[in-house]
Symmetry: C2
Subunit: 498 residues, 2 copies
C-alpha cells in the first residue's frame, strides 16, 4: 500500500505512495472530545460528509473529565449573565483576556472569541445544554451546586480589576457537583449521532497523508489491526488533545517546574495530533507552557491568609485564581512555600493533600516550627496586618474583601512544590493555528487541508498565570466549531497524482 | 528544475524533483561563524570534501561579534587553569553546569563537553589560539586585559558554590579589550582556507533537498541570483545562528519579557537554519528561552548594593552573573527594579544606560524619591545591614566577599525593564540534536543527513538563569567540531531515485 518504510505520526505518508483509498470522506476528525464533537456537528450542519476517529471506546476526551465550565460573556452578556444582573461588554472581556494572557496573548483569537461567545452560549443551549439563571457566589474552584454563573478567573483581583470591569463569565451546567463534563459530552455526542456523521471508535490515527508540498489529503488510521488510507477531500481536523500523558514529550518540551505531579486529562493525551501536525510542517508554539495549579481553596477562608516564600516574604496577592498562585510560586527561589492563616480561618483544603507545616501562638513559635527567619516573618506579618487593618495592601493589592489582620494563633500550610502537595497540570502548547483552525507552517503559510482545535492547538489559554476555569473548554468547543465550518466550506482538494 | 511551486526554508525541495545537481560535495555547511568554521576544519581533516555557504561577504558570524571567551575546564584543568593554580575536575564542572542549566539541562551534551573541553582547549591552541597563563581577577563581564582565565558564570555564588567547587573556566584570548571575537574568527578562517575547503560567500541557503522520508541529500542555494542544487553526499550541517534578528519569529516563539531591547548578533541571525531543519521534521525545543542580561557590573563595587523590586523587597543574591540577575528581575511582579548602593560605591556602569532613580541621606528620602514604600524599604535595608555586619545573608546567601552594610548617603539606579536601561539578548532555542549534531525529529529519530551546531541547535546554554560567558562560543565551536567529524565519517547517501 505504501513504499514508506515505517509509519510514525511525525512522518507523513506521501500521497503519491497511496495506491488506493480505503475510505473517503469530506472531513476527517481525529478525536471525539469537546473540540472534535463540535467540529463534527458544524461540519455536518454545513453539508459535509464527516468521519470521526476516536482512539478509545467512547466519546468524551478530556472535556468529559472536566467540570465543563465554559468561559463566556461580552456582547451585553449571556442570558444568564443578564438574569443575574451583569451587563458584560465585549471590551471588558477582551481587555481582561488580553491582560490575563499577557506576553503570550493571541489577539485575533481573543477578539473573535469575545465577539462570539454569547452566540456560542446560545448554540450550546440549542445543542441541549441547560444553564440556570442563577449565580454561585462562593470562591471555589468550581460550582458545587447546579447554579450557573461564577467567577472562574482573576477578574476581581489586581491588576486585572483595574484594567477591565470584573464580570463572572464561568458557566456551569445545571447539574450538582463536578458532573458537568460527562453531561456536556453526552449531549454533544447525541448531537453528533443524530447527524449523518460516521464515528469510528477504537481507531488509532497513525499519520497524515500529504503531497510533496505538505498539503494534507487524508490520514492513515488503524482499524481492527489494519492500516487504512482515509481520504479527506476537504480536510483533516486534529482534535486529539494535549500531551500531558506523554512523559517523553513532557521531558523534552516542558521545563520540569511546569510539570506538576498529577496530569489532568485522559490517557489519549499523548500528543499524537501535535506530532502529526508537525510532521507536515506545522509550527509548534509555547510548548513549555502548562496549566499548573495549587487548588488552595476551597475553603475560601484560606484567602484571608498570606503566602510566603523561603525568605518569609509575600510574593503575590492571595485573592487570585489558584493556577496564578502556582505560576508565581514556581518563580520563587529557595525551598519553602507556606500559607499562613489565623487558626480559626484554617480548614483543610479538600483538593490539596497538604500538611500543616507548623502552628504557633506567636510568630516566633510559628517561624521556628516551619524554619523561617523570625525577624523577616514578623515584619511580613506585621506589615501586612498594619495595612490590612486599614483595608490596604500597598505591596500586592489584594482585594479588601480578603483583607483582615492575621491574629494568633497561627497555622501554616505547607505548599512547597515537591513536598507531596498536589500540583495538577495539563499542557497548553501546540500547533499554531489561525482563528479559523487552519494550521500554520513555520513560514506562517496555511497548510492546505489541515486544521486543529482544542489542546492540539495553542489556543486562547497559554499560561497558568492568566488562566480561568472554562477557558480551555470554551476555546476547544468554540474553535472546534469554527474549524468544522471552515473545512466544510473548503473546496475539495484533488491530489496532483490523480 | 523543480515542480515545487514556491521555495521557502520550511518547504524542502523533494529529491525526486531534482533533475540535476549543480554542485556536488560530501559535506555542505550553512554559515561560516564559529560553529561552521570548526565543523569545516574537522570534516576536511577527516578527509571529506567540504563546501561552506555564507550569506554575508565574509566569515565571522556572531562569534566574531562576541568576546570569544570559551568556557572550558574539567579533566584536571586546562594548561592555563593549572598554571594559575586551579585543579579543575570534570565532576565539578559537570555538577556546576547541570545545576546552572537546571530544569532544562541536556545531561548528555554537558557530560560530553565536560569530558572533552580540555582537549578542545588544546585543539584551539593547535589552530593558533593564544592564551596567556594568567588570570583576570576582577568581577567584570569580560577580561579587559590580555589575561586569560576568569570567572564568567555563577560558580562562586549561591546555590552553585555549595553544589560544586568553584573554578574559573572562562578563557580569554591574548588580546586586550573586547577583541577576541575577530581574532578567533580570523584564525579559524585561516585554518579553513589552508585546507581544501570550498567557501562561497554572498550565498543564501534557500531550502533543504530531502526525500519522501525527509532524509537530507543536499540543499538549494542562491549564487549570483541563480538557484543551485547542491548535493551533499554525506550531509548538511546547519550553523546559521539563532533568530534574534527575525522579529516575526521572536514575536511568535518568545514571550515578550524574554525579548530584550538590544539583540546581540549579526544580521544573518534570522533563523534560516532553524526553519530549514523544521521543514524536514526537525524538532524545535525551548524556543522561548533567551540569553537576556542586565550588565550591571562593572564597576564591581555595585555588587555591594542590593536589588529591590516594586515591593521594596530583595529577590536574589546580587553576586550572581549579570544574565541570572536579568532572569530573576523578569520574574518580579509590579513595575520597578532598583539597585541601591552606598553613594561611594556608586559608579556609572558603562554598559547599562541606566539613570539614577534617586538619592537620599536617609532611607525615607530615598524611598520617597523612587516611590517605594518607606517601611518596607527600611526593613529590607535594615535586615540586610544587620546581617551583612555579621558577614551573613540568611535570605539569599550572597557571598561574604560582597557583604557590608549599606551606609548613607544612598543612590538608587533604575534598572526597570522598559525604562530605557539595556537588556541585550540572543536566542537559545533551536533544533534538538544529539551530542553528535544529528538533528532529531519529533519522534526522536535521527534525520539522516542533517546536522546542526551553534545557536541553530539548542545546545548546552538554555537559560539566562544559568548562563556564563563562553558557554555559547564553547558549545558552538566544540559541537561544530563534533558534527564535522560525525558527518565526514558517514557513508555517502544515495538518493532512492538514482
Amino acid at each position: 500500500m505504501s513504499t514508506t518504510a515505517k509509519l510514525s505520526p511525525t512522518r507523513p505518508r506521501r500521497v503519491h505512495n497511496v495506491t488506493h483509498w480505503d475510505l473517503e470522506t469530506d472531513v476527517a476528525i481525529v478525536g471525539f472530545g469537546g473540540a472534535g464533537a463540535c467540529a463534527a456537528i458544524e461540519a455536518a450542519d454545513a453539508g459535509a460528509k464527516v468521519c470521526v476517529f476516536e482512539v478509545s471506546a467512547a466519546s468524551g476526551g478530556s472535556t468529559a473529565l472536566s467540570s465543563a465550565e465554559v468561559y463566556m460573556g461580552g456582547s451585553g452578556g449571556t442570558r444568564v449573565q443578564k438574569a443575574c444582573g451583569y451587563e458584560d461588554t465585549t471590551e471588558d472581556m477582551f481587555n481582561f483576556l488580553m491582560a490575563a494572557q499577557g506576553d503570550l496573548a493571541d489577539e485575533e483569537k481573543i477578539r473573535m472569541y469575545c465577539e462570539n461567545s454569547v452566540d456560542h452560549f446560545d448554540w450550546l443551549v440549542r445543542m441541549g445544554a441547560k444553564y440556570k439563571n442563577s449565580e454561585y457566589k462562593k470562591r471555589n474552584i468550581m460550582a458545587r451546586t447546579d447554579d450557573c454563573l461564577l467567577y472562574t478567573g482573576n477578574e476581581k483581583s489586581h491588576p486585572f480589576r483595574e484594567l477591565a470591569k470584573p464580570c463572572p463569565r464561568g458557566h456551569n451546567l445545571e447539574i450538582e457537583g463536578d458532573n458537568g463534563g460527562p453531561m456536556l459530552m453526552d449531549l454533544l455526542t447525541r448531537n453528533v449521532e443524530s447527524r449523518s456523521v460516521r464515528v469510528e471508535y477504537n481507531v488509532r490515527a497513525l499519520t497524515l497523508i500529504a503531497d510533496d508540498d505538505n498539503a494534507v489529503h487524508g490520514l492513515v488510521v488503524r482499524i481492527d489491526g489494519e492500516e487504512r488510507n482515509v481520504r479527506a477531500r476537504k480536510g483533516v481536523i486534529l482534535c486529539a488533545g494535549g500531551f500531558g500523558m506523554n512523559p517523553k514529550m513532557l521531558e523534552r518540551h516542558v521545563p520540569k517546574h511546569n510539570i506538576g505531579n498529577v496530569p489532568i486529562g485522559n490517557p489519549g493525551d499523548t500528543g499524537t495530533g501535535i506530532l502529526m501536525g508537525q510532521g507536515v510542517g506545522g509550527a509548534l508554539i509555547h510548548m513549555g507552557e502548562t496549566f499548573i495549579t495549587l487548588p488552595f481553596y476551597p475553603p475560601e477562608s484560606l484567602t484571608f491568609g498570606i503566602f510566603v516564600n523561603a525568605q518569609a516574604q509575600r510574593f503575590i496577592n492571595e485573592d487570585i485564581y489558584h493556577a496564578r498562585m502556582a505560576h508565581h510560586i514556581l518563580k520563587q527561589v529557595g525551598q519553602g512555600i507556606y500559607l499562613i492563616v489565623n487558626h480559626d480561618d484554617y480548614k483543610r483544603p479538600p483538593f490539596l493533600n497538604a500538611d500543616i507545616a507548623g502552628t504557633g501562638e506567636t510568630i516566633e513559635e510559628l517561624a521556628q516550627e516551619i524554619g523561617l527567619d523570625v525577624d523577616m516573618l514578623r515584619h511580613t506579618v506585621d506589615f501586612y496586618n498594619q495595612h490590612a487593618a486599614k483595608n490596604e495592601d500597598p505591596a500586592f493589592h489584594k482585594h479588601e474583601a480578603w483583607l483582615k489582620p492575621i491574629e494568633p494563633p497561627y497555622a501554616a500550610l505547607d505548599c512547597t512544590p515537591g513536598s507531596g502537595v498536589l500540583y495538577p497540570f495539563f499542557t497548553l502548547g501546540g500547533l499554531d493555528t489561525l482563528p479559523t483552525g487552519e494550521v500554520l507552517s513555520m513560514g506562517k503559510d496555511v497548510i492546505p487541508g489541515l486544521y486543529a482545535a482544542g489542546r492540539t492547538a495553542c489556543g486562547i489559554p497559554r499560561t497558568a498565570g492568566g488562566y480561568g476555569s472554562g477557558m480551555s473548554v470554551g476555546d476547544a468547543t468554540y474553535f472546534g466549531r469554527v474549524a468544522g465550518k471552515q473545512v466544510a466550506n473548503r473546496e475539495c482538494a484533488k491530489p496532483a497524482q490523480e
